[in-house]
């Protein structure tokens, strides 16, 4: 009694529809099969869950946003570029009004044209609880990116204006995280979002083919994609959730799949000897401890600096078989916002002296860490190393070890609810200036309302942030952002440990993958050799 849901028939239909435009079957089908670290298939109804991995493999493949990320180069820091909007500017008369010029001639996977109305409709879908297309799940998944959204209006068929609540020069970055779904398809399905999930339609470089819930998602190239350079160069993309590193490695070795995310450092030698390509690149990620500025020893800058001087980061890199770089600041040196920050070299004497000066001997810390989690690298071994290094200079570390979801709960609630936790180990995505530099130090983002977990406050930071949000000249804004980054370092805002190098392992048969310095990646240029 094989179990079949209605999805099978649907999927078959779509598959058949997709095949009409497919290549001649003279050659064997070239399939790119990816082992993701996610525990499940990210949702397909627009903004995905499963963190940035969901955006990387499902979100930006099925859908586009007004603003996209430039993922074409491995050598330079990745920034935003035009997406469904060809350009945008601030209204010279009103600093809270953004004008977006829309790309013409774009078609949804279902064949309907992409219009200005679609943009307004998508914004209402996650902000206006009275709109028929309003969808709680999507509201929850996109709300972070539309907090500053006030209203939108259509200027003409190819132009929309978006009004923000406060002046924010960085607003286009937020728009890069709001994926646009097809109004045509949603109306055809009478706003049944479950049906939509099984039959999604976007404008992205891939179109939906079929899904086996929890197990696999199959996408086919969108041959009509508006960016002809990004039409996928393989016949099929298959995405498999494989949360265990050993499982991913096994599947790659036995040829079940040909592209894996985050192989465990220990498996790399074996993968290499089996001929696999290991690709790494720096990207805006860091693995720090986020600290408590309301209570406890971390309120003293000398203690924070002592902790940073206590770490021998080279040992972390060695522990990770070289798959990380040492981190002394929020951003890696390759970032345009890096500047000339203070550097906390490994110096145990200095650390001990600072602790003594601060009168914190032994300096007891309670730190929350997770056993695993997205972007957390190898949390247990790394934290045990961290503990031994901190204790060597006079700290006394007590870890609260928990699963990833419990750590998220702590991260979300902040110091008001957890005053006795001196810091937590949460990896950070440093893609856009707002989340990388501004939120962690801004009073407006004090937890639980935002992501300034430890309630950091400094008037200098507030002034800089105000200046940044009001600065619409890119070069001048860059100078201010550098200053803010230097402030992070000067304040020893976190215990900085390492930046991940984002390893991936690819079958030797894959060609053409360029690993951008980004959390997102472009899979379209990959060719699968027979």
């Amino acid at each position: 009694m094989p179990y079949r849901g209605p999805r099978s028939t649907l999927a078959t239909l779509i598959l058949a529809a997709g095949l009409i435009g497919a290549a001649a079957p003279s050659q064997a089908e070239s399939v790119l099969t990816v082992g993701m670290t996610a525990g499940d298939i990210p949702v397909t109804t627009g903004n995905p869950d499963q963190g940035f991995e969901g955006f990387r493999f499902v979100g930006y493949n099925l859908y586009d946003s007004l603003v996209l990320w430039d993922l074409s180069s491995a050598d330079k820091a990745s920034d935003i570029k035009p997406g469904l909007a060809t350009s945008w500017e601030i209204d010279p008369a009103n600093k809270k009004r953004w004008i977006f010029h829309l790309r013409q001639g774009v078609k949804w996977h279902d064949g309907c044209p992409f219009t200005a109305d679609d943009v307004l409709w998508n914004l209402a879908r996650v902000t206006d609880s009275k709109a028929p297309q309003y969808f709680t799940q999507q509201m929850a998944l996109s709300r972070t990116y539309v907090t500053n959204f006030e209203s939108a209006e259509k200027i003409d068929d190819s132009t929309v204006a978006i009004n923000t609540k406060v002046v924010e020069s960085l607003f286009p970055y937020s728009m890069s995280y709001l994926l646009m779904v097809s109004r045509c398809r949603a109306e055809e399905l009478k706003y049944d979002w479950n049906a939509y999930a099984a039959n999604p339609s976007g404008t992205g470089p891939y179109r939906f083919s079929r899904m086996v819930p929890h197990e696999r998602l199959e996408l086919l190239p969108n041959k009509e994609y508006w960016n002809k350079d990004r039409i996928p160069r393989h016949d099929k993309l298959v995405l498999l959730p494989m949360p265990e590193a050993a499982t991913r490695a096994a599947a790659l070795m036995t040829g079940q799949i040909n592209f894996i995310e985050a192989p465990a450092p220990d498996t790399i030698p074996r993968l290499k000897s089996a001929g696999m390509q290991i690709v790494t690149n720096k990207y805006p990620h860091n693995w720090p401890f986020i600290l408590n500025f309301e209570h406890g020893p971390m309120t003293d800058i000398r203690v924070r600096r002592a902790a940073n001087h206590a770490l021998n980061r080279a040992e972390f890199v060695e522990l990770l078989n070289g798959l990380a770089t040492e981190s002394y600041d929020t951003m890696p040196p390759s970032s345009p916002w890096y500047g000339h920050p203070m550097k906390y070299e490994f110096n145990q004497d200095k650390a001990k002296a600072l602790l003594k000066e601060a009168g914190c001997v032994p300096c007891k810390l309670t730190l929350a860490i997770s056993t695993s989690g997205s972007g957390q690298m190898q949390p247990l071994p790394m934290n045990e190393l961290l503990k031994s290094q901190l204790e060597a200079v006079g700290f006394q570390i007590e870890f609260k070890v928990m699963d990833w979801n419990s750590l998220i709960e702590i991260a979300r609630s902040g110091v008001p609810k957890y005053p006795n936790i001196d810091g937590y180990n949460g990896s950070r995505a440093l893609l856009d200036p707002l989340s990388a530099l501004i939120k962690p130090v801004w009073k407006f983002h004090w937890s639980p309302a935002g992501s300034n977990w430890g309630h950091f406050f400094s008037q200098d930071a507030e002034d800089l942030i105000t200046a940044i949000l009001n600065e619409f000249d890119a070069d001048k804004r860059l100078a201010l952002l550098i200053k803010l980054h230097e402030l992070h370092a000067e304040q020893a805002l976190m215990i900085f440990v390492v930046h991940d190098l984002n390893p991936r392992a690819l079958s030797p048969k894959l060609k053409g993958f360029v690993q951008a310095q980004n959390w997102f990646q472009d899979l379209t240029p990959i060719e699968v050799m027979p």
Binding site: D49, A140, N194, V212, H214, A250, T254, P448
Partner: protein
């Protein structure tokens, strides 16, 4: 017989109700937020409150329970918070995959275990008996998830003759046990799963056989001059019902209890679904899966009980 049937079913109803209370309240023991999965990690308190209200998690518990129970009675287990798919669909799909393994593991375990136990029971005290009984003890003491890992090391990592995990190229959707490309994915999990039942069935067969061997009718048969194989046939026939009951229970256990083995082999069955629901705190899936599995277990027990009374009227209890 009808009376017994009605009585047993009647008896199962309050248990099923109790089971549903346990399932429902289990989830609310949980610290943290049931809506964790769909909220981004930096969601604000305001967003969380909004979403909570939208999902009905802001109502008092008894109300939530009654609403849930009412829907469950109609076969609606709600929908997954993470995937928004109906829980019943999720569980049915997973159960199908679990049953695929169990339907192979149980016959293998039964034939192996029964032969082992029968041979051991017919020659009590012999070296063969000791060898087989010893093997059976290892079976019941085996951490089978570890055994699964050992098999993976031997056959997937070192010899590379069998796949390590998963259900094959098409996943459960296109899985066919008649296609070797798919069926080879089942080999290691089925062997792993059958180890413990082999031990249990062997042990209970041996106990049953040696018990029957000690009964008067065997000596009567022997006195009548019946040949040894014929006597053994009689003995096995008498021991069979008890062993069949054990096998039935093992099937129930395998349907609900293979969470560890499914985790080792990433087999998308009911146990795997459950562990995923725990990690994601997907409340409706957690409740629905546990409830369905427990009810299946209750039903299997009921069936075994009835079947046993049918076969052997002596054990018909009141």
């Amino acid at each position: 017989m009808i009376n017994l049937l009605i009585r047993r079913i009647f008896y199962a109803v309050p248990i099923a109700f109790g089971v549903s209370v346990v399932c429902f309240s289990l989830v609310y023991l949980a610290p943290g937020d049931p809506l964790q999965t769909i909220l981004p990690s930096d969601a604000s308190a305001e967003t969380i409150a909004l979403v909570k209200a939208a999902y009905g998690f802001d109502q008092p518990l008894p109300i939530q329970f009654l609403k849930w129970l009412g829907r469950v009675m109609l076969g609606d287990f709600g929908q997954s918070i993470a995937t928004r798919r109906p829980v019943s669909l999720e569980v049915m799909g997973a159960l199908h995959n679990t049953a695929t393994l169990a339907l192979f593991a149980v016959p293998i375990a039964f034939s192996t275990g029964f032969s082992m136990g029968a041979i051991a029971g017919c020659f009590p005290g012999s070296w063969l008996d000791r060898l087989l009984t010893g093997t059976a003890v290892i079976g019941v003491s085996l951490p089978n998830y570890w055994f699964g890992i050992v098999l993976v090391i031997l056959f997937a990592v070192e010899a590379m003759v069998l796949p390590a995990t998963g259900m094959g190229a098409n996943g459960s959707d296109g899985f066919s046990i008649f296609r070797w490309a798919d069926a080879r994915f089942m080999v290691l999990p089925v062997i792993t799963l059958s180890m413990v039942p082999i031990g249990i069935i062997a042990r209970s067969t041996r106990a049953a056989v040696s018990e029957v061997m000690g009964q008067d009718f065997v000596s009567t048969l022997r006195a009548k001059g019946l040949s040894e194989p014929a006597i053994i046939r009689h003995v096995l026939k008498n021991a069979l019902p008890q062993v069949l009951a054990v096998m039935g229970l093992q099937f129930g256990y395998l349907m609900g209890g293979s969470i560890l083995v499914e985790t080792v082999f990433t087999w998308p069955g009911s146990g795997f679904l459950l562990s995923k629901a725990i990690i994601n705190r997907d409340v409706p899936v957690l409740q629905g899966t546990i409830l369905m599995l427990a009810l299946i277990f209750v039903a299997t027990n009921l069936l075994v009980d009835l079947a046993q009374s049918l076969i052997d009227p002596r054990i018909r209890r009141t």
